[in-house]
């Protein structure tokens, strides 16, 4: 039996006194595209951050490719996250002082790959997402769309089982946003990764195989779209 890409069981999370998640469960199959939607403050970004291991839930479990994050040491958790999960945020979040190629090679270098091999893989991904010509530019020299493309390359360069994207088109206009989504989908499909996508934009949610809608920290409904 193939492991699920992601499984959350009754996850709870609160910021001081604000409860963001009240027992959310979610399963994501390998290669599946799931949109997490809902009004502002419904807990969708918190859910994504818990799933990606960025936040640690106060109750419930998160399993990434069959491994319970709570059972792993800090070092192993970081390693699992770095190799199995890619993250794309609204504003790319690239390291501002590094060139695009170094930004994309970084996850591989942190995993101990040799520099030449890491840069070769980074170059391939930058070409694939259409910013190969900008490999030696730093993020400040490029547009939001170009940086976001590089962020997709960085998320996929390690060949992760799952990619987490939080409003990945949020900083782009609608046409650029749709192109970005097409690129993100094509990229996760190339790598066979699952995609969990947080969005408030219905046109972007319509790209998913399944929609999970949150309200006040609980799943309001869940429907198949494909």
């Amino acid at each position: 039996m193939t492991d699920l890409a992601l499984e959350l069981l009754r996850v709870e999370y609160a910021y001081r006194r604000d409860v963001a998640l009240r027992g959310v469960s979610l399963k994501v199959e390998p290669g599946e595209v799931v949109a997490i939607t809902g009004p502002s403050g419904c807990g969708k970004s918190t859910l994504l951050h818990c799933a990606a291991g960025i936040l640690r839930p106060q109750a419930g479990t998160v399993q990434l490719v069959g491994q319970n994050l709570a059972d792993l040491s800090e070092a192993n958790r970081t390693r699992l996250r770095r190799t199995q999960a890619g993250v794309v945020l609204q504003f790319g979040q690239l390291v501002p002082d590094l060139t695009l190629i170094d930004n994309v090679a970084l996850p591989l270098l942190l995993e101990g790959h040799d520099r030449q091999r890491a840069r070769r893989a980074a170059t391939e991904w930058l070409d694939r997402v259409g910013v190969g010509d900008d490999a030696s530019a730093v993020p400040g020299e490029l547009s939001g769309g170009q940086n976001q493309r590089a962020a997709v390359a960085r998320a996929l360069v390690t060949g992760p089982a799952i990619v987490f994207a939080d409003e990945p088109t949020g900083s782009l206009d609608s046409l650029a946003g749709e192109q970005m989504m097409e690129l993100l989908l094509a990229s996760v499909r190339t790598g066979g990764a699952a995609l969990v996508l947080v969005t408030h934009d219905n046109m972007i949610a319509a790209y998913a195989d399944r929609e999970v809608r949150l309200r006040d920290g609980v799943v309001q409904h869940e429907v198949a779209l494909s």
Binding site: P39, N202, M203, A206, Y207, Q220, H221, V223, A224, L225
Partner: protein
């Protein structure tokens, strides 16, 4: 047009005559075109012919004849089916969606379940339109039509989301 189903919805609380049906409709949709009397009576006759409503009382009490109509079991089932089924998202079909949501609330059906079904139906349609555009090998006028429909479906979705929020809040405050 879903006038027939709306008339069934207006009879859900109990038998009524044509005038009450018309007044009920105009109260449900205060900012829309009033329902014409002629249309009410034609619709009631057709519904009676199809066995969805029946005459429960016929009297005049000294004035003009007033026929009172009530829902049959078949009519009740037809109404429940109509209220549970999302509309086929297409150009010009939206009025029926609004009618269904309003009728769902008035008849005490689960409006949030309907809104969720309609939402997924809209999202699926956007997917289909996008796939059709991706398959087309040129920028034909057909693509412009698909874009037009998709943008309007997006507007519907925003209305559906707002309706979901309002209805959920209302439920919470009544709890």
């Amino acid at each position: 047009m879903a006038t027939a189903e709306l008339v069934l919805g207006l009879l859900h609380r109990g038998p009524a005559h044509g005038y009450d049906v018309k007044r009920g409709h105009d109260a449900w949709f205060p900012d829309s075109r009033p329902l014409a009397f002629g249309q009410v009576y034609t619709t009631l006759s057709r519904l009676e012919r199809d066995g969805l409503v029946e005459v429960v009382e016929r009297g005049s009490e000294g004035g003009p004849e007033r026929t009172v109509y009530g829902l049959t079991d078949k009519g009740r089932a037809h109404l429940a089916d109509w209220l549970s089924e999302p509309i086929q998202p297409a150009l010009g079909a939206v009025d029926e969606m609004v009618r269904k949501v309003v009728a769902t609330i008035h008849t005490g059906e689960d409006a949030t379940a309907f809104l969720a079904r309609q939402r997924s139906s809209h999202l699926r349609r956007i997917r289909e339109l996008r796939a059709a555009s991706a398959d087309a090998d040129d920028d034909t006028p057909a693509r412009l039509v698909r874009d037009f429909v998709a943008v309007h479906l997006d507007a519907d979705l925003r209305w559906l989301d707002g309706a979901m929020d309002r209805i959920t809040e209302l439920k919470e405050t009544r709890r």
